[in-house]
Amino acid sequence: MGASRPHVPVIVFAALVAMFSLVPLGFIGWVTYDVGWETVKTLVFRPRVGELILGTLYLELLTIPLSIAVAVGLAWLTERTDIPGARLWAWLAITPLAVPAFVHSYAWVSLVPGIRGLAGGVFVAVLAYFPFLYLPVAAALRRLDPAVEDAAASLGLAPVAVFFRVVLPQLRLAICGGSLLIGLHLLSEYGLFAMIRFDTLATAIVDQFQSSYNSPAASMIGGVLVTCCLFLLGLEVLLRGNERYARIGAGAARPANLQRLGRFALPVLLLPATLAMLTLGVPLLTLGRWLWLGGAAIWDNEVTGAVGQTIVLALAGGILATMAAAPMAWLSVRAPGRLQRFLEACHYYVGSLPGVVVALALVSVTVRFLLPLYQTFALLLAGYVLLFLPRAMVGLRASIAQAPVELERAAVALGRTPGQAVRQITLRLAAPGAAASVALVSLGITNELTATLMLAPTGVDTLATRFWALTSEIDYVAAAPYAVMMVVLSLPLTLFLHAQSKRTAGQ
């Protein structure tokens, strides 16, 4: 049929991007094959790797349940009770996302120099990552049909029982999704754990890489890490099941009744207040203290230079990733099918790979086959595209879906050429979504540390890498301006996520 012909160049482009996104996985597989089973055995099955896996496992097993408890409790307070200042607490609950994880641990290390190991790692990780659970859980709570809870009460359930037997099970999808996100972050995070000297698989890879950039040892631990990621993805699919918890029926949902806290209001207030103090107060106070100690002298030209380089890199990466994702996003809306689903899966999986693995793969592949590309901007940007491809897809898909093909046809029927119709209708309607995609990716790049450390050409200093270099020299004062600038540049992300969670809740 002629109708599918125009898709061919788009499919080819999307397929190329999909192939490119398979590079990290292919690299791991290829190295495993190349070094041979004996070497794999000696590199992987040794006590050191066992320790790392166990440490990472404990980290996941402690951080995720704690984050679930904090996020669900806080979401319930802000969405379902008459707690004073509910909107303020809701904002404060997601603002920690504006503070990069490694800045969280920098703040805590400055405040409590003895913070170390698993306990410290879990503590800071919960503070830095629980918003990833709070956002979906709060949105899901807003979407739940209160009539269902009324029905449970009319069937004789006390309020506490209603929460555990009716509300909590309906939050399962949100909890699974948020937990997966946190789990993947825990696997891939380098800065947070390196700062408080807790060894995970990711920190071990960076350490290995820094001693020799092309060591099979690093690649093998990378293989273990990727296996963990895939295991986590599979586990989430298994736990989530193919449930459908959406509202049944068409009537407009009545807003939920708010639980009266009464005389408990003041003691309950301590909870979000303490949390806000730990997640925002501590970083702001320590940053403030370092800034005050440093005075004007620490705001030197290097800070300005790093801001400039970060913005340029972030925008270039954002635009590139959005352009790379566009064909796939268009296909997934306009021409869904089996091939499209496979290509789309390639686009999405790569985003859940740790930055260390992506960077490792790109470095090793270029060193071996494309040496001129090694230590170039192009390679760094390619790394960003891979890491943030799913983010770029999200905004694009939604906005292309808002420009149905019928509108294009209507434009053609009114005398426009197909090309004009695409330009005047589809692109115009998809533009805001594309801009959102660019912004989302750019904000991600602003705070990206690991891959930037490994891929950046010498002389390139982003806010994150400068910050990292200075804190490694224990120059906490000089590092403060970089941290402040990262937080300032990330604040829009928080606004965006807040607005988006409101919108998905239909408000």
């Binding site: 049909d145 009539a147 269902v148 009324d150 029905a151 449970a152 009460a153 009319s154 069937l155 004789g156 359930l157 006390a158 309020p159 209603v162 037997r165 009716v166 099970p169 309906q170 399962r172 449930e243 459908r244 918890y245 959406a246 509202r247 049944i248 029926g249 068409a250 009537g251 009744n257």
Partner: protein
């Protein structure tokens, strides 16, 4: 002996009075319909009876027990009143069987049998038990919601617009099924609806709410034939309202002399239901005539609009059969059967 007694219930949401001094009694084994336009406070009334909300003022008494006096009282989960809401409100994470058994006491020994009995009662196939709510049609969801509420063997069942999300044909089937089930089980029911036909055909007692006030309560026939005011008259069905002069049991109006059931004398507004007015062809009881200004063919029931001469009234709409429809512009006589209702 009343089962449920509501006494001057008032409830405000900020500046808006949702309910304003509503009193209503419900007899055991009866069916009451609370009907009113949207925003009339009928759902709030139901939620207060269920215990999801408490009135600002007023008393809810049920089976001799005080359920609410002002903003204090027994919470919903201790009332033992069943409710079926607009879209069933089934638990989306549980199967049909688990939904139905949700209200059972923990470890009930005859769980499986009771589920089967309840499914049977609401005329659903036993094979449905393993399905999930989203795999059911709207009507099936409502039946499961009814079975779930029946599982607690409540004395009173609240029905919150349970048929409004269904297709027209299904709506009637469901209404009849629900009446049958409740009657068999001997359960008192209160139906909240904005659909007056549904209210009239469902209930022994109809209560009309408007802007938070109870306008009138009584049997469907009484309300239909003797509404308290023109607004209620129009709300409960099509109505022909005419100015008239009433003397000695007769009203002189644009349709001539019409018998009334009222000792009222003097000028008044009277009401006739359209089915009381017919086009008289042979002139047996000729009344005043009019001119046919519109004929709408509608199959079994056709609508003829007749404009009366010399009177500034909108044309009178008459429902008639398709046999011998008058022609447009024809002069016809109008006959009246039964008595007209006088608004005092």
């Amino acid at each position: 002996m009343t089962l449920l007694h509501l006494e001057t219930i008032s409830k405000r949401y900020g500046p808006v009075a949702a309910l304003d001094g509503v009193s209503l009694s419900v007899e055991p084994d009866s069916r009451t319909a609370v009907v009113g336009p949207s925003g009339s406070g009928k759902s709030t009334l139901l939620r207060i009876i269920a215990g999801f909300e408490f009135p600002d003022r007023g008393i809810v008494r049920f089976d001799g027990k005080q359920f609410a006096e002002g903003p204090a009282g027994v919470p919903a989960h201790k009332r033992g009143i069943g409710i079926v809401s607009q879209d069933g409100a089934l638990f989306p994470h549980l199967s049909v069987a688990d939904n139905i058994a949700f209200g059972f006491a923990r470890g009930a020994p005859d769980r499986a049998r009771r589920i089967a009995d309840l499914l049977d009662m609401v005329e659903l196939d036993g094979a449905m038990a393993t399905r999930r709510p989203h795999q059911l049609s709207g009507g099936q969801q409502q039946r499961v919601a009814l079975a779930r509420a029946l599982g607690r063997r409540p004395q009173l069942m609240l029905l919150d617009e349970p048929f409004s999300a269904l297709d027209t044909g299904l709506r009637e089937t469901m209404r009849k099924a629900v009446v049958r089930v409740l009657q068999t089980a001997g359960i008192t029911a209160i139906l909240v609806t904005h659909d007056q036909t549904e209210a009239l055909s469902f209930a022994d007692q109809v209560a009309v709410l408007r802007e938070g006030r109870l306008v009138q309560a009584g049997s469907p026939q009484t309300l239909y034939q003797h509404p308290r005011d023109p607004e209620t008259a129009r709300f409960l069905g099509d109505a022909v309202l005419l100015p008239a002069t009433v003397t000695n049991g007769f009203a002189d109006c644009a349709l001539g002399r019409v018998p009334v059931e009222s000792g009222h004398a003097g000028k008044a507004e009277i009401m006739l239901r359209p089915e009381q007015i017919s086009i008289v062809v042979d002139g047996a009881t000729p009344q005043e005539g009019g001119r046919v200004v519109d004929v709408q063919f509608g199959g079994a029931v056709c609508t003829v609009a007749v404009a009366l001469p010399d009177i500034a009234l909108p044309p009178i709409l008459i429902k008639t059969s398709s046999i011998a429809l008058p022609a447009l512009g024809a002069l016809v006589h109008l006959g009246v059967t039964g008595k007209a209702h006088v608004f005092a």
